[in-house]
C-alpha cells in the first residue's frame, strides 16, 4: 500500500447523498481479476452517455477543471451498499486519494483505508465550505496533511479533522495489515487452542 502523508490537489464537488458503490462502479465491471484498470469505469452511468458511450459533458469529472481531481467533496453516507472493494480501486485508479464527506458507509470506509485512500468525516457546515471551495475549480486546491490532521483551504484557513489513530499509523507508513497481524500469530494459536477445547464442534 502506498504511503499517505500530505497531498495537494484539485477537489471536485460531488454533492450527492447516499452515493452507493453500484454508482461508483457498476456490477458489470466486476468481472475483472485485477485491482487496476477500473478508473475508466468510475461513475460509469453518470460519466458516459449510455448509448453513444460519449462523455457526459455535465458530469463533474468530465469538466476540464476537474479531470485531474485527486479529492472528492461528497454528500452524506458515501459508499453505501455493496462491499465491493472495486469501488476504492476504481477511485484510486482514477487518481482520487482522499474523499471528504459528512459520513461514510462502514464497509467502504474500511476498504478505502486498506488501499491508501484517506476518508475524512467532517460536520456538514465544514463540508459546505469545502464544497464551495471545490466549486471554484482547478485553481482552488486543497492541501490535506494527515500527520497534523489538517486541511488547508485555498484562502489559507485550516480545517482540522479526526482520524482513527491505528488507521492513521497504517496510512502514514503504508503498512500491510496482514503483516501486522502475522506478528500476533502466537496469540492466534493460543486462541484456537482455547476455542477448540470450549467449542470443539467448530473444528473438523
Amino acid at each position: 500500500m502506498e504511503k499517505f502523508d500530505t497531498m495537494t490537489g484539485v477537489a471536485a464537488p460531488f454533492p450527492i447523498v447516499n452515493c452507493d458503490t453500484d454508482k461508483i462502479i457498476p456490477a458489470r465491471f466486476l468481472k475483472t481479476l485485477t485491482r487496476t484498470g477500473l478508473g475508466k469505469s468510475l461513475f460509469d452511468a453518470m460519466r458516459y452517455d449510455p448509448k453513444s458511450r460519449e462523455e457526459n459533458p455535465d458530469f463533474v469529472l468530465n469538466k476540464q477543471a476537474y479531470r485531474n481531481a485527486e479529492i472528492l467533496v461528497a454528500g452524506e453516507n458515501f459508499g453505501c451498499g455493496s462491499s465491493r472493494e472495486h469501488a476504492p480501486w476504481a477511485l484510486l485508479d482514477f487518481g482520487i486519494r482522499c474523499v471528504i464527506a459528512p459520513s461514510f458507509a462502514d464497509i467502504f470506509f474500511n476498504n478505502s483505508f486498506k488501499n491508501g485512500i484517506l476518508l475524512i468525516t467532517l460536520p456538514q457546515e465544514e463540508i459546505d465550505k469545502l464544497m464551495q471551495d471545490a466549486e471554484n475549480g482547478a485553481n482552488a486546491r486543497l492541501t490535506v496533511d494527515l500527520q497534523d490532521q489538517e486541511i488547508t483551504r485555498p484562502d489559507g484557513s485550516k480545517v482540522s479533522f479526526e482520524v482513527d489513530p491505528f488507521k492513521k499509523h497504517c496510512l502514514l507508513n503504508g503498512l500491510d495489515d496482514i503483516g501486522l497481524t502475522m506478528q500476533k500469530v502466537e496469540k492466534i494459536d493460543k486462541f484456537e487452542g482455547k476455542q477448540k477445547a470450549a467449542t470443539p464442534w467448530l473444528y473438523r
Binding site: 481479476l33 453516507n77 482513527d164 467449542t199
Partner: protein, 473 residues
C-alpha cells in the same frame, strides 16, 4: 454482579484475541464464504506474499454472482461470456491451489452463498462469519455475528483467520404486533428501513427482537437480517431459539452426536441478558402495515402499495429534496402517481433476500391457476440446488411454468445483473431483491422492491398491485 451483556457483546468477547492501546481489536473469524467476484485479487495477494490459507476447512468456495441461470445450463466450460467463464475457472483453480472446499456450478449444493451457508449447517449460532459480500448480514438470523468485508479482508481472513476491527455499537429494534395477512418478512424489513433510513444503522450491529421477530420462520429472519445492510448496519442479529436449533439439526456441517447437545447448551447461553442496555433502541408495531413497495433509488424510499409517489416539494431539507427529484427523474415517475398504476416489464423472484423455499411457496401460492400478463417477462430463480429440488418435489415449478414464469437454475441473477439476466434501459421491474440503486439491475433499469407474493401479483396484473386484492378474490 457482572454487567448484563447483549448477544453481540457475548459473541464479540468470545472471539477477542487482542486489544491494542488505541482500542483496535483483533477478532477471530470462524467461517468464511467465498465467491468468484470478490476473491481473485485476495488469492493473488496470498500468492504474491507466499502465504497459505490458515484453516482451509473454515471456508466454502462457491460460484453464484456470475453464473448463468439458464434452464439446463452446462458446466463452467459451456459459459459463452469469456470474462465470466474465466472468473469461474479462476475461483475453482484458487480453491484447488489453496486446498479449500469448493462446490461446482451444477452440484446440488451450489447456490447463493447466503442460502447455502445455512443449508449446509456452516452457519451456526455464536460464530463469526464473513464473506466478501455485504448481504452476509443474512446469517445473523442464526445468532451468528456475520458481516460483509472487502477483498483485502477476505485475504486477511484466509491468511490469519482474524480481522482487525473496532467493536460496533448495539442497537435493538423491537418489533411488536403480528404481521397482517398479505405481508411478509420483506414488508417488515422494508418498513424498518423506511423508518430508520439507509444510514440509520451505520456503526451499529442491530439486534432484532420482539414477538413479530420470534414469530418469523428462519427463512423470514434471514430476509430481515439480509437487508440490515440497507439500513447501514453491517450485521443484524436474532437470538437463537428452538426454531434455530430445529433448522440446524442434521445439516451436513451441524454438530454431530454428543457435540450436538454440547453446542445447543452453549447456544442457549447466547441471547442477550435481561437488563442489557443498548446504545440505541427502536420500537415499532407492525400490526397495521400494508404490503410495501419502493418508489425511488434507495431502499429507504418505500411506501405502502395503496400510497402514491411522494412529492419532493413537500420535503424541507434541500439535499433530500434534490435526491428525491433525481430519483423520480431516474425512475420516470411523477409525484402523486398511485403506486398501483405503475406498469412493470419484468418480474424477478430470487436473490439472497427472497429465494428460499418459503419464498418459492409464497410466490407460487399467488401464481397458482393464474397467468402472467402478456406484457410481462417473469422469472423465478431459486437460491440453491436444494431449494430448486425441494420446490420441484412440491410441484411449485409446474405452477410457475403453467402460469408463464421462467423457472431457472440457482444464482444471484437479476439482483445485480452480472450474468446477463438484466433490465434493458428504461425497463421497470418488480423485484424481490434488496437494492433499487440506479443501474443495479442493468444500466437505466428501474427497480421496485417488493415481497415474493407482491412480485407474483405484479407479474399477473402487469402492474404493481396489492396482493391482498388478488388473494381475496
Amino acid at each position: 454482579m457482572t454487567k448484563p451483556r447483549t448477544l453481540f457483546d457475548k459473541i464479540w468477547e468470545d472471539h477477542l484475541i487482542d486489544v491494542q492501546d488505541d482500542g483496535t481489536c483483533l477478532i477471530y473469524i470462524d467461517r468464511q464464504l467465498i465467491h468468484e467476484i470478490t476473491s481473485a485479487q485476495a488469492f493473488d495477494g496470498l500468492r504474491m506474499s507466499k502465504r497459505r490459507a490458515r484453516r482451509p476447512e473454515a471456508n466454502i468456495c462457491v460460484p453464484d454472482h456470475n453464473v448463468p441461470t439458464t434452464p439446463g445450463r452446462g458446466g463452467t466450460d459451456e459459459i459463452d461470456d469469456e470474462e465470466s467463464r474465466v472468473q469461474l475457472e479462476v475461483l475453482e483453480k484458487n480453491a484447488m491451489e489453496f486446498n479449500l472446499p469448493y462446490i461446482p456450478i451444477n452440484d446440488i449444493n451450489q447456490g447463493i452463498v447466503h442460502v447455502i451457508g445455512p443449508e449446509q449447517g456452516f452457519t451456526q449460532p455464536g460464530v463469526t462469519l464473513v464473506c466478501g459480500d455485504s448481504h452476509t448480514a443474512t446469517h445473523g438470523a442464526f445468532g451468528a455475528l456475520a458481516f460483509g468485508v472487502g477483498t483485502s479482508e477476505v485475504e486477511h481472513v484466509l491468511a490469519t483467520q482474524t480481522l482487525i476491527q473496532k467493536p460496533a455499537k448495539n442497537m435493538r429494534i423491537t418489533v411488536n404486533g403480528r404481521l397482517p395477512a398479505g405481508c411478509t418478512a420483506k414488508d417488515l424489513i422494508l418498513a424498518i428501513i423506511g423508518k430508520i433510513g439507509t444510514a440509520g444503522g451505520t456503526g451499529y450491529v442491530i439486534e432484532y427482537a420482539g414477538p413479530a421477530i420470534k414469530d418469523l420462520s428462519m427463512e423470514g429472519r434471514m430476509t430481515v437480517c439480509n437487508m440490515t445492510i440497507e439500513a447501514g448496519a453491517r450485521a443484524g442479529l436474532v437470538a437463537p431459539d428452538e426454531k434455530t436449533f430445529e433448522y440446524l439439526k442434521g445439516r451436513p456441517q451441524s454438530p454431530k452426536g454428543g457435540q450436538w447437545e454440547q453446542a445447543v447448551e452453549y447456544w442457549k447461553t447466547l441471547p442477550s441478558d435481561p437488563g442489557s442496555t443498548y446504545d440505541e433502541e427502536v420500537i415499532l408495531d407492525i400490526s397495521e402495515i400494508v404490503p410495501q413497495v419502493t418508489w425511488g433509488t434507495s431502499p429507504q424510499d418505500e411506501v405502502g402499495i395503496n400510497d402514491v409517489v411522494p412529492d419532493p416539494n413537500q420535503v424541507s431539507d434541500p439535499m433530500r429534496r434534490a435526491s428525491m427529484e433525481r430519483s423520480l427523474e431516474y425512475m420516470g415517475l411523477a409525484a402523486g402517481t398511485p403506486m398501483k398504476d405503475i406498469i412493470v416489464d419484468k418480474v424477478f423472484v430470487g436473490s439472497c433476500t427472497n429465494s428460499r423455499i418459503e419464498d418459492m411457496r409464497a410466490a407460487a401460492a399467488v401464481a397458482k391457476g393464474r397467468k402472467v400478463a402478456s406484457s410481462v417477462y417473469a422469472m423465478v430463480v431459486p437460491g440453491s440446488g436444494h431449494v430448486k429440488a425441494q420446490a420441484e418435489e412440491e410441484g411449485l415449478d409446474k405452477i410457475f411454468i403453467e402460469a408463464g414464469f421462467d423457472w431457472r437454475e440457482p444464482g444471484c441473477s437479476m439482483c445485480l445483473a452480472m450474468n446477463g439476466d438484466m433490465l434493458l434501459p428504461g425497463e421497470r421491474s418488480a423485484s424481490t431483491s434488496n437494492r433499487n440503486f440506479e443501474g443495479r439491475q442493468g444500466p437505466g433499469g428501474r427497480t421496485h422492491l417488493v415481497s415474493p407474493p407482491m412480485a407474483a401479483a405484479a407479474a399477473i396484473a402487469g402492474h404493481l398491485t396489492d396482493v391482498r386484492d388478488l388473494t381475496e378474490e
